[in-house]
């Protein structure tokens, strides 16, 4: 693995962003083994954050009529129907991962995206000019442009609520504590205990996703307990923040720029000047 830099590796994002004495890093632990697919999280998020409706969609994908995380859906409950051999439903409330190394934030050219003192990642709607660069930069497909508005939108981890000591709307509304909110260190310990419990209870397929600070995004601020491979839920199996390779990309561009200069110099150097031709 690469060593820790501001672009990759394990670190605490708020001090790295320049907060001298930040509060503990806050996040979500979404335990899909107790999700009942009620979508209260989707509704509570829309209500609190005044996220516009998407209209009535019937997608034909089990009970999922939301489809994906979009500009107008900051929580998305996935429903997977499996026969293995007994029928089972996998349900999972997806959300912005609030990455330790957030590509959306790194590539934002206006400074609209910023790191909060809680280590979360938020878009300032009065700054965003809808350039759209954060959208393909996100390795999880979270950020999206709102039609008719033009700007990029995503989960703020209820920055306004967290700032006054409240729980984010989705976690507050979750009736089974599938969505747990708290200091990330505590959540990680709780998740370890939950995995041990599930494994001893005969659920060997239970695994954590996004909890590891050594992964390609330096660990997620919102991580998950899953019951199958990540891609079954529409999650990338091994996401890497694109800007980890940015120093190498700039080096390649520098070499290419030198090649361009050399080609131009060579094209002119060999030619006799038309005015001075004998």
């Amino acid at each position: 693995m690469d060593g820790t830099t501001s672009l990759s590796g394990p670190l605490d994002p708020a001090p790295d962003a320049g907060y001298p004495d930040p509060p503990p890093r806050m996040g979500f632990f979404t335990d899909t083994s107790v999700c009942i697919g009620c979508k209260a999280c989707e509704v509570a998020c829309k209500e609190w954050n005044e996220v516009p409706a998407t209209g009535l969609d019937l997608l034909g994908t089990s009970f999922d009529n939301t489809g994906a995380l979009t500009a107008n859906s900051w929580r998305h409950v996935a429903f997977v129907e499996q026969r293995r051999p007994d029928f089972r439903w996998l349900m999972m409330s997806d959300v912005c991962k609030h990455c330790t190394h957030a590509a959306c934030l790194d590539v934002c050219p206006t400074g609209a995206l910023f790191r909060t003192e809680f280590g979360t990642v938020v878009i300032q709607e009065d700054i965003c000019n809808g350039c759209g660069y954060c959208i393909p930069a996100c390795p999880y497909g979270v950020v999206d442009q709102r039609e008719g508005d033009g700007r990029a939108w995503k989960c703020t981890l209820c920055y306004d609520r967290v700032g006054v000591g409240k729980t984010p709307a989705c976690a507050q509304a979750c009736p089974t504590e599938s969505i747990q909110f708290g200091p990330l260190d505590e959540l990680r310990e709780r998740a370890e205990r939950r995995i041990e419990r599930l494994h001893s209870d005969g659920v060997p397929e239970a695994r954590l996703y996004g909890h590891d600070p050594g992964d390609g995004v330096g660990g997620d601020g919102a991580f998950f307990l899953l019951l199958d491979e990540p891609e079954v839920y529409g999650l990338p199996p091994d996401p890497v923040v694109t800007t980890r390779d940015l120093p190498r990309m700039w080096r390649r561009a520098g070499l290419a720029a030198l090649t361009v200069v050399a080609a131009v110099a060579a094209a002119f150097a060999g030619c006799s000047s038309p005015g001075r031709r004998s």
Binding site: L7, T61, D64, G67, A68, D106, V107, C108, P109, T110, I127, C128, N129, G130, C131, G132, Y133, P136, A137, C138, P139, Y140, G141, Q145, D149, G150, R151, I195, R207, L208, H211, D212, E231, V232, G234, L235, P236, D238, P239, T242, D245, L246, R248, M249, W250, R252, A253, A256, A257, T259, V260, V261, A263, V264, A267, F268, C271, S273, P274, G275
Partner: protein, 318 residues
């Protein structure tokens, strides 16, 4: 050669894992016009330093026009064009778009002054405009050289712009895109010169057409063959057809540049072919990226392979 994706490659109802870019045609068009502007500024500077006045004028006017078009394209593609100036709030080396904004702002200013210098003789001789007419040619010369100094960055940063995303076929192409785009920039600018400059001044443009198009074609060949599964989007569908069209046009343009030494018509046709090749290549690369973002197998399969090769990094995985 690449393997087809495993048939069991899981996904969530076939939905994309990442979001495809939301940019319209303005952005691939800008990849072309930005490159053209950069190449033209370099040709103009070379022509200026070697005494080729028509080539110099062609280069300066092309650079200013193409960079003006680039800025219009970039602003029009914003979700909130009225907030374009928010791009000038910060300078962020981690954002290729921020770097590009500053490069194009400086380049646009310099190449505008350089182009204005070409028209100084049309100003009245007396009064304040007369003073301007005296100052413009030397200022234009300095500005033209400054634009040429920024041009290599303008021609190549767009490769980083595309690669610095989660789009699989762009990101994995990061070692190749800047050089390919730099070559394409030179070839397209040489194309304009072959159309506009007299044969006596066009020799450097002919050489640059060959060098630039060689870089472009070598780059597209690499994209088609060397990225394993992620080369597929460069070979299939609309992107594949555009890339092949670009190759045919590029080869024709190179042949025309060699054969057109004594014929303005052949040279001009060669120039048109070079420009069309550059446009086709830019759109092909753009569309291949969109295709690789839209099909989840291009995101999932390489990541699974990477993870499986590394082995479980945590006792909870696998």
């Amino acid at each position: 050669m690449s393997e087809p994706a495993p048939s069991g490659s899981a996904s969530y109802y076939g939905r994309p894992v990442i979001k495809a870019p939301v940019w319209g045609r303005a952005i691939p068009t800008y990849l072309f016009t930005g490159g053209l502007a950069a190449g033209a500024a370099l040709l103009a500077a070379g022509a200026d330093l070697t005494g080729r006045p028509v080539l110099r004028r062609t280069g300066r006017v092309t650079a200013a026009g193409a960079v003006g078009a680039s800025i219009c394209l970039l602003v029009s593609d914003l979700g909130r064009p009225d907030r374009f100036h928010h791009l000038l709030r910060v300078a962020k080396p981690t954002s290729p778009l921020s770097v590009g904004t500053w490069v194009i702002t400086a380049f646009g200013t310099a190449s505008g002054v350089a182009a204005a210098g070409e028209f100084a003789s049309r100003l009245p001789r007396r009064g304040p405009l007369g003073t301007l007419g005296t100052l413009l040619p030397p200022a234009g010369r300095v500005a033209g050289l400054a634009a040429a100094g920024l041009a290599p960055a303008l021609a190549t940063y767009t490769g980083v712009l595309l690669a610095d995303t989660a789009v699989p076929s762009w990101h994995e192409a990061y070692p190749h895109l800047p050089r390919l785009f730099g070559g394409s920039a030179l070839a397209s600018a040489a194309g304009v010169a072959l159309i506009a400059a007299p044969l006596a001044e066009a020799e450097p443009a002919r050489r640059l057409a060959l060098a630039g198009m060689a870089l472009e074609l070598a780059g597209t060949r690499t994209l088609e063959r060397r990225l394993d599964l992620l080369s597929e989007p460069y070979r299939n569908g609309r992107a594949g057809r555009l890339l092949r069209a670009g190759r045919v046009l590029g080869a024709a343009g190179m042949a025309g540049a060699v054969l057109g030494r004594r014929s303005r018509i052949v040279a001009a046709l060669s120039g048109v072919a070079l420009l069309a090749a550059s446009v086709a290549t830019r759109f092909a690369i753009y569309e291949a990226g969109v295709a690789s973002a839209t099909d989840p197998k291009y995101t999932v399969t390489p990541q699974r392979e990477r993870r499986d090769q590394r082995g479980p990094s945590s006792p909870h995985l696998g």
